[in-house]
Symmetry: C2
Subunit: 167 residues, 2 copies
DNA sequence: TAGAATGAGTTATATTATATCATCTGCTCC
DNA sequence: GGAGCAGATGATATAATATAACTCATTCTA
């Protein structure tokens, strides 16, 4: 059985109702954590909310600065612990090539990811890209490699930014 | 038309003449730098040599420690400058997910790369994986994305390590 | 109530990377 | 020869990212 070539989630449109976007993400997170019997504590929730403020990847120390008004005692460990939790629960992704973090749009399951990172507007678009993952799987087969994580990060220009710069 | 399924270069065999391997890499680097009119200075050469000591990815500060006997004055900037140069010349790759550096086996041209990173033995195998890159290109098309860099890093177990652990 | 599990506070430190300014070396141009 | 330039390196400082180790509080439960 093969491949619905379509992404399993709606990619972020160039302009969209971001409030809705955030609301969905937070709701999903809350539900999942209840289902799993893990605690989406106040700090963790706040960090998740801050990450979802935009579709840009956010740095840990930016989050620290932004959470301090809310959590006066916040220290680096505060943030990194929350980030660990959120990553483990599949609610955010770490963008290795930026040392930064971005909300996951297909939350709740561990999954393969293709991250398209725009150099201009800095937004990160997550795509399922099952054909890419299929090709990767075949390559592992040839190489005798057993993959534990597939993270594909690509830097470039998103459609909108490419359009603007060519006009 | 589809697919020579074979990699375009010889992957590192489980056991191989590594001296030869290093010798080739250094020779190639020397030649390319002459051709390009850039200077493969003593420090840069030493750093490249240290990186090629194994097929594992090496950290910048490891390189710093290892180069100190040779370059007494070496400081972080010494290493990072050499690394910048080597990356720009396409002689090494930065492994984003490890903050580390590995020799490039297909030196001299900027190119797409698939890095298979073994969690056990820590070796990094570089593959051309043209089918993966093709699938990626098609995905960019669909997403309207203009890629500037394609770096695919996958963590898992290499054939040898997977074999050993299953025996 | 003792003991385990989890989350968070606190302090300190480790690791990774860059900024800035000074110096040196080889080269060109006059 | 000497002024001027470019590229590489020396030297000092600091920024940015991340973890360790120990403490305490809460909750659950045996
Ligand atoms: Zn949105
Ligand atoms: Zn963009
Ligand atoms: Zn070798
Ligand atoms: Zn291995």
């Amino acid at each position: 059985m093969k491949t619905p070539a379509e992404p399993l989630f709606t990619p972020p449109p160039t302009t969209h109702n971001h409030q809705q976007c955030v609301h969905n993400a937070l709701k999903t997170a809350e539900t999942l954590c209840v289902e799993r019997g893990v605690q989406l504590t106040s700090i963790r929730h706040q960090v998740l909310e801050l990450i979802w403020e935009s579709h840009k990847a956010v740095k840990a120390y930016e989050l620290l600065d932004r959470i301090k008004p809310l959590q006066n005692a916040a220290k680096p460990a505060t943030i990194y612990r929350a980030l660990d939790f959120l990553i483990t629960q599949g609610l955010i992704h770490r963008v290795e090539s930026l040392n930064a973090f971005v909300g996951c749009r297909c939350s709740g399951r561990q999954h393969e990811q293709l991250l398209l990172i725009c150099k201009q507007c800095e937004e990160v678009e997550e795509r399922t890209a099952s054909q890419v993952m299929q090709a990767l799987a075949e390559e592992f087969q040839r190489a005798g490699f057993t993959a534990h994580s597939k993270a594909v990060e690509v830097h470039g220009l998103c459609q909108r930014c490419a359009g603007l710069s060519s006009e």
